[in-house]
């Protein structure tokens, strides 16, 4: 596989075409909208947070393969997780994207994004849903 095939590997295409957690939650405590200023794509992330735990999380929006797959995998990986641990997961994913040491085992399907750091112009797309999540974490910790 060359780099670009690695980036658009099967699992990423599958998540993008059939994203998990796509839709608006019936009830939620947090809602964040983020835009990628370069392409005008925008994502809304919804979260139901109770007892410092993400009970439910979902997203809606228009985006490229990278941002949609990232959102889908992010939601898989943090569903039902305690807030304290989400912070770690965010950092872990960020480290992988920035080519720093990271823990592969806790990332699940997200390791498919390992080669994203070779596409600096696309890092923003991969991080878009995560930035929405970070904003939710900030709201929770306020």
């Amino acid at each position: 596989m060359n780099n670009v095939q690695q980036l658009y590997q099967k699992i990423i295409l599958e998540h993008a075409n059939h994203p998990n957690g796509f839709g608006v939650l019936e009830s939620y405590t947090h809602q964040v909208e983020l835009r990628n200023v370069e392409c005008g794509d925008s994502f809304q992330v919804f979260a139901l947070v109770e007892e410092r735990q993400i009970k439910k999380i979902s997203f809606v929006g228009e985006g490229c393969i990278i941002s949609k797959a990232s959102a889908s995998m992010m939601i898989d990986s943090i569903h039902g997780t305690k807030i304290e641990n989400i912070q770690k997961q965010v950092e872990n994913f960020q480290n992988m994207i920035l080519n720093k040491p990271f823990d592969e085992n806790s990332l699940g399907d997200l390791v498919a994004f390992k080669s994203l750091n070779q596409f600096p112009t696309r890092v923003r797309c991969g991080m878009l849903p995560w930035h929405a999540l970070i904003q939710i974490l900030e709201e929770i910790n306020e």
Binding site: C39, C64, I66
Partner: protein, 391 residues
């Protein structure tokens, strides 16, 4: 010419390469002539000032201005359009007036008018396009009234690539005693510009989109209009007399050129004009049509490609925007990049148009007359690979 290493450079609508002669002019200024203009009492300062002012005359002749004092040096198109909006707009607009722009304006000819409308209470109206991306002249005719003070229009859309019938628009607005502001950023590298035959009251362009350096551009303004306009930046060079209570200003164009100008840029612009004149617009247009024919027919042959703007030949002046199937433009551009093809993808600073087209982003390929057929082939071959990788 700028040598792009190992890529097919098809982002010329963003900025063009520069020829060796322009690089030499700039190197020569920085290498052995770096003095300021207008003030020095020594020979070299006089010489550089003469060359600098010579470019003003050169520009005036090139675009058909009646006097070189109608030529203001700016930092680029954006700077020039903001100058008109802030100076002319602020002094001439009231809450009874209207400004008209088109749906396909670049943000730099849209946002300044939107903001000046908010500030003055004027109404901003937007004229649309026909289904094939041409300016809707009928709609414009209906929109224009005696309340319309300003029509601000791009001569060529940086997304759709077709030319606007500027002269017809000028006649419409002049009949109502309004003025026409032309954004020529995208057209200047492709077709000749003559402010008289276009009927432009103001016209702006950037050197970097016409084989010149970045950070310098031109605003043409009719003498009569410039006379009544206040400066929007104050400082050195642009003043006449300063005392503790009052300051009087120089006449146009100097009153709009506060501070030490981009001297290397202006000299480089002059050499870029020489370059274009040596080649000639006729040759430029002929070569570009050959390239665009190949580009458009290559794209049309790929079933999943949707081309925006005119669907007929000879209407895209160096620019074509498209999408591949339902794939996002950034995913497509990433694959083109991996094949060594440099294109632009995104909303192209034209979000109002994207909304009308019903897409969030497009891929844009753009050429100059220097682009090669093998670069076009690289693009077409790469576009053919997109579906294989993404499906």
């Amino acid at each position: 010419m700028t040598k792009y290493k190992k890529i097919a450079y098809l982002d010329n609508a963003a900025t063009t390469p520069v020829p060796k002669s322009v690089i030499e002019t700039i190197n020569n200024y920085y290498g052995c002539r770096k003095v300021s203009v207008h003030r020095g009492m020594y020979d070299l300062a006089g010489e550089v000032t003469r060359d600098y002012e010579h470019v003003r005359e050169q520009v005036a002749q090139w675009i058909g201005a009646s006097k070189s004092t109608e030529v203001i040096f700016t930092s680029g198109t954006t700077d020039g359009l903001n100058l008109v909006a802030n100076s002319y707009g602020t002094t001439n607009l009231t809450d009874q007036d209207q400004i008209i722009v088109s749906i396909f304006e670049h943000h730099s000819n849209f946002v300044p008018w939107q903001q000046i409308a908010k500030k003055t209470g004027a109404t901003l109206k937007v004229v649309g396009t026909t289904p094939d991306g041409q300016l809707d002249l009928n709609e414009l005719e209906h929109l224009i009234s005696s309340k319309t003070k300003i029509v601000a229009l791009s001569m060529m859309s940086n997304v759709l690539g077709n030319l606007v019938p500027v002269k017809e628009v000028a006649d419409l607005i002049h009949r109502q005693n309004g003025i026409l502001v032309v954004d020529a950023a995208q057209s200047v590298a492709h077709v000749p510009i003559n402010v008289q035959s276009l009927g432009a009251d103001f016209l702006a362009f950037s050197a970097h989109k016409m084989f010149g350096p970045t950070g310098v551009g031109v605003l043409f303004g009719k003498e009569q209009l410039l006379k009544g306009m206040p400066p929007i930046q104050y400082g050195g060079e642009m003043v006449d007399q300063v005392d503790l209570k009052h300051t009087s200003f120089q006449n146009a164009p100097i009153k709009f050129e506060a501070g030490t100008p981009n001297i290397a840029g202006v000299l480089g612009l002059g050499t870029a004009i020489d370059y274009i004149q040596d080649v000639g617009y006729q040759t430029i247009e002929q070569r570009e049509q050959v390239l665009m024919d190949r580009l458009l027919s290559g794209l049309r042959a790929i079933k999943s490609v949707k081309i925006y703007g005119p669907q007929v030949d000879n209407q895209h002046f160096g620019v074509v925007s498209f999408n591949v199937g339902d794939y996002h433009a950034h995913d497509v551009a990433t694959i083109l990049n991996s094949e060594g093809v440099a294109v632009r993808a995104g909303h192209l600073c034209a979000e109002p148009l994207m909304n009308q087209l019903g897409v969030s982003s497009v891929v844009r390929a753009s050429v100059t007359f220097e682009t090669t057929l093998s670069e076009i082939k690289c693009l077409i071959d790469a576009v053919r690979k997109v579906e294989d990788i993404l499906k």
